[in-house]
């Protein structure tokens, strides 16, 4: 099981005339946290289904822990995978603990884990309530608990935080972070990129079934060449001096009487800071690199193909 958790080469999936995925090359290293971003219909769920072996790609090869998820041993290999589907639901009259025990039996995980897991996800008070009475947040928590059954080596999560309140989101992030520290490989898709901006090792952007970018946050920042914004607090008198000092390197935008914003290319901001630092009458300087949200929007809107960074 030391093989590469996920490896896709030239994978395409077509449904009739619709192309859900096209030419996808994608790999996750052991212990890596890969975030997957893309708008609805970009092919994220299709990609997950292919990795889980639920659908067969039209072309290309897929390897999960070194073997095709369609092979005969693949069913057994799923023990090493935990999956949280988008909008996970649990139907029926079973209680939370009964439902989790059912999934534990299917996975061959010790039943003793169930109570612990329910406590970890904060469902201890609802263990004997019927799952159909669960709220959206509680269903998501139960979904998390079932995903963690049997201590999987690979976690696959589809939009895990959509519809959760900020408190649950934070708890959820903590839980995922713990698994990551324990060496679990994680593949996660999310609209709320800010949730994983700091933690994801690499980020893959999917657009219309193609991977348009993949890399660390730093690499993506460089590649997108999105501007860095420097906010400088300076009185009206100092603003003119400032504009003169850095005008050749950055676009100077007056925010109000108290501050200006300098918008510059990412490789220029250190030079600008040196000049700004030399000036007097500057109160504070705040550097704001592009957020993952901005980078996401940049790739999502296809600006990378039109050339030039988005404003």
């Amino acid at each position: 099981m030391n093989a590469q958790p996920v490896e896709l080469k030239g994978v395409a999936k077509r449904y009739g005339a619709v192309t859900a995925l096209d030419g996808v090359d994608f790999a996750i290293e052991p212990g890596e946290f890969m975030a997957l971003a893309g708008h609805n219909g970009a092919g994220k769920t299709t990609l997950f289904k292919i990795i889980l072996g639920l659908i067969r790609p039209t072309s290309g090869t897929v390897r999960v822990f070194g073997a095709s998820p369609q092979s005969s041993q693949a069913v057994e290999r799923r023990r090493a995978i935990g999956f949280l589907p988008e909008n996970v639901t649990f139907a029926g009259n079973l209680t939370g603990i009964e439902m989790l025990r059912f999934y534990a039996r299917l996975k061959g995980a010790p039943l003793a884990q169930c109570a612990d897991l329910l406590e970890q996800v904060g469902l201890s008070d609802a263990v004997s309530r019927r799952v159909k009475t669960y709220s959206k947040g509680m269903r998501q928590r139960l979904g998390l608990a079932q995903m963690l059954l049997g201590e999987p080596k690979l976690l696959v999560l589809d939009e895990p935080t959509s519809g959760l309140d900020p408190d649950s989101r934070r708890q959820f992030r903590t839980l995922i972070e713990e698994r990551r520290k324990a060496g679990t490989t994680i593949l996660l898709s999310s609209h709320a990129m800010v949730d994983f901006e700091e933690t994801a090792d690499r980020i893959t952007f999917l657009r219309e079934g193609r991977i348009v970018a993949c890399g660390t946050l730093d690499a993506l920042r460089k590649e997108s060449a999105l501007p860095v914004r420097i906010r400088v607090k300076a009185g009206p008198g100092a603003q003119a001096t400032l504009a003169e000092a850095v005008g050749d390197l950055a676009e100077v935008q007056r925010i109000n009487g108290q501050s200006v914003e300098l918008i510059c290319a990412p490789d220029k901001h250190v030079a600008i800071l040196r000049r700004v630092g030399a000036l007097e009458a500057i109160e504070t300087v705040e550097v704001r690199p592009p957020h993952l949200e901005n980078i996401y929007a940049y790739y999502r809107d296809g600006a990378h193909r039109d050339g030039g960074p988005a404003k």
Binding site: L52, E76, R77, A91, N93, L94, F102, L106
Partner: protein, 275 residues
């Protein structure tokens, strides 16, 4: 095999929880008791075993009721999970699709078997305790209870097949009702019509029993009404000559085939189903 048992166990637990088991058992018991005590009144002082009379009336009603219950119980099995969105998660588990089909079928059949055994068993006991049954009456009655379970299982397999094929619950439900009408009502009328129109007797009388094997409900009827001398007298089938009889074990075999074949097809259809 653990996965199959886990899925069957969940279906049974669900059936107990949502009162399906209770309701089905009560309906079957009430029906059987009513028929046994009211239906055997006309037997009066005739030398008829009350159990044999009960077999005739009860099996005639089981033909309508058991397939209906079995189809209602099973049509939702896979189509419903797909529609509610729980199927995706289930399929991501280390469980093969045939195991899901088999597990659901076993769970549903266990519910049907329990209801049949308890409902019809209680009736048999009540009749046996209150009336003079005679030693010969028990064999046809027990055969009826056993074949009722097989009949339920056959339609549970058909319902599972419907559920594996249909895209939506509503379609599965419609298909189930349609199949029920076909097997329980239309098939016999159609066969009768064909035989009536067949004035040249190209379909020989020996062929007819084999045509009945094409319908699990008819196999059940034929098995119960024609297999035992005492019963066939009351059922009006005593005139059947030896030549048109099919040995009871062969009929049971045919009934088992009606379980195995639809179940195999269900596994095949589910395997091809996209999620």
């Amino acid at each position: 095999m653990n996965a199959v048992l886990a899925i069957a166990g969940r279906e049974i637990r669900e059936g107990v929880r949502n009162r399906w088991v209770l309701a089905t058992t009560l309906v079957l018991a009430a029906l059987a008791l009513t028929l046994a005590f009211l239906g055997s009144t006309p037997a009066g002082t005739v030398k008829a075993s009350p159990l044999a009379v009960t077999v005739v009336s009860l099996s005639s009603l089981s033909i309508f009721l058991l397939p209906l219950i079995a189809l209602i119980l099973t049509f939702d099995g896979i189509a419903g999970e797909a529609e509610r969105g729980t199927l995706l998660l289930l399929l991501s588990y280390p469980v093969a699709r045939w195991q899901i089909v088999l597990g659901k079928f076993l769970g549903h059949t266990a519910i049907l078997a329990f209801a049949t055994l308890v409902g019809y068993g209680a009736t048999g006991l009540a009749v046996g305790l209150t009336q003079e049954t005679g030693a010969g009456g028990w064999a046809p009655y027990l055969a009826m209870v056993g074949s009722s379970i097989l009949l339920g299982a056959a339609f549970a397999a058909i319902g599972t097949l419907v559920s594996a094929i249909a895209r939506e619950r509503a379609v599965a439900g419609g298909l189930g009702i349609g199949l029920w009408l076909f097997f329980v009502i239309v098939f016999d009328m159609g066969l009768l019509g064909i035989l009536a129109a067949d004035t040249n007797q190209t379909i020989g009388s020996a062929t007819v029993p084999w045509l009945l094997m094409l319908n699990p409900a008819d196999i059940y009827r034929f098995f119960n009404l024609a297999s035992f001398g005492d019963v066939s007298t009351f059922a009006g089938l005593a005139g059947l000559s030896e030549s048109v009889r099919i040995a009871p074990p062969a009929m049971l075999g045919a009934l088992v085939a009606w379980i195995v074949v639809p179940l195999g097809l269900a596994a095949l259809a589910f395997q091809r189903r996209s999620v």
